[in-house]
Symmetry: C2
Subunit: 344 residues, 2 copies
Amino acid sequence: MGRQPSAKPTSFDIAYLAGVSQPTVSRALRGSKSVSAATRANIERIARELNYTVDKNASSLRSQRTHTLALLFFEDPNPDESMINPFFLSMLGSITRECARRGYDLLISFQQMHNDWHVAYQDSHRSDGIILLGYGDYQLYLTKLEHLVEMGTKFVRWGSVSEEGIGLTVGSDNIGAGEQAGAHLVEIGRRRIAFLGDASDHAPEFQDRYDGLCRAMRAAGLEPDAALQRDAVSSEDSGYAAAVSLLASGAPFDAIFAASDLIAIGAMRALAEAGLHMPQDVAIIGFDDIPAASLTSPTLTTVMQDMKGAGTLLVDALLSRIEDRPVERCILPARLIRRQSTAV
Amino acid sequence: MGRQPSAKPTSFDIAYLAGVSQPTVSRALRGSKSVSAATRANIERIARELNYTVDKNASSLRSQRTHTLALLFFEDPNPDESMINPFFLSMLGSITRECARRGYDLLISFQQMHNDWHVAYQDSHRSDGIILLGYGDYQLYLTKLEHLVEMGTKFVRWGSVSEEGIGLTVGSDNIGAGEQAGAHLVEIGRRRIAFLGDASDHAPEFQDRYDGLCRAMRAAGLEPDAALQRDAVSSEDSGYAAAVSLLASGAPFDAIFAASDLIAIGAMRALAEAGLHMPQDVAIIGFDDIPAASLTSPTLTTVMQDMKGAGTLLVDALLSRIEDRPVERCILPARLIRRQSTAV
DNA sequence: CGCCATAGGGTATACGTATACGCATAATAT
DNA sequence: ATATTATGCGTATACGTATACCCTATGGCG
């Protein structure tokens, strides 16, 4: 009744009530084995009654561990920023949940791609590890990653797993996903399959998807035609331009695998303007399963990544690295979502 | 060369190099006026050279201020979670940027609407203030808000400003936005305008939009017809159902103002299935300007909220409250985006 | 019966910063 | 010339926790 709600209880309060010393409280709550079961139970009960929470600042100060992870989100430098991939938003949800579950706080920070990356350095003081998130051109800051490694900063990033580059990478099974998409197109009888998306070092994830497509085609006895590949970054305009270029080349094709839904949507616009029917004339598959994919006409077949799994795995992997445990798994399966654009 | 990169410099290191005491360093860097300009300049120079950053844990522990804000995001309990309003994502970006600019960290936490809200209590220990974000049914936790007020926790929430409820609220000018939408529909000659969206206390933002619509109609000498209003929550399915119900009623209408783009998209599906042409038979306006709004056919006229401004303003208002300054402004303008669905 | 290992927990202290207080020196006032 | 006040800074200490170290009681062993 007369209790001040603002009077945060400390470990001393608990110690007093439990008739032990403050360090014993600390040990009990941290799970040290040099405290008897009875004492521990008593302390935990009192702590619960008082609504006690460990003061993170004091704890971090003393132990030099923050129990906080930092999330650096790299925004696409491309203009239609409202189109930020919803994939990352879902991931954000599962990341925060996993952090909470493991008793970590999550510090978040958006980065302009070219900007003060040294913020990462700052954040490395404030967190035990860093999660790097972003689509697109990782090349831009690979040298910065090396810098992080040098400083011994623990981090994990989302991207192409096959690449085996700097640091620890977690990502979808882009190759397998590409194979699924390719196999599906082959299955519905398509032979000349185009690919829209950078197939260069700049976008390893896109390249993996292309590799998967090629693998599926070869498995079906088809040889991928390099003339049917067009570079594109993940935007509607870029997809439109790529499809226009493809159409202009005159090379015949009966299917398109786009490296992202945005690219696919742009391409669909170009195809429609050219008077082509989907999927009759050209079947099309995207990637990401963004909400808009079910609004296009025809609705877009696409590949869905495991967003919840991704967040969990990123946090898991990072914590493993922080605690110097080996990281077991860092590839996530993807799943093909069949819609009208490949329904023959 | 021989410097250990991991040896974080402390205020003592700086004090030693500057030939002063540690407290003087602290004072100089915090901007206390009881340190001479020369001393301060010298200290700042050394700090910069050493790449010194204040240890936030120590600082917070001593000052009992965390320089951290917590963001509680309330997820819609509705199933199509991938459709999380992109509006909030953009807001997230500007919130993080504004926090960074003001020297605050941002702790983020997603909440299931009905779940352990008492997490907010925990977070109130770890942050100086809380930002509450979420669309939808705020009623559910109004009692919890009262609890926060009781505990003296500083917070600000996104929502209907007109409502004047508990705590500090920042939001778009929903009434003005509704007026703009209504005026536009009247301008293109529509007389019987339907409204899809909860017009109840449960969704004050939607109610404001409806009120704005009514105001615009009355200003044009039209009387809103209550029979043309249908409840709907922000989802495609709900919008579809509402439109179907409206059509079934047989009441004539020549325009729809939907309380959100998702509702509008669902309604468009129902209209198309009923063989109605947009905008000839029925003009339609949504709200939010989600990316999908420019993908529908016809493309959707909608109201765009000032996302960047919203994040900035939320942080601003919260910091004002924390520092016991009056809050000046908490309403943001919205802008009508004209597309095909109202282009006669 | 003495010796040592072990369990269980107390004592003292460190983490890095911010602030109350005191103490000079210098600048003004009386 | 003395009293008064402001300026600029040092001294001491507190914030709440975690950990290195030490101590006691007990039990096992020879």
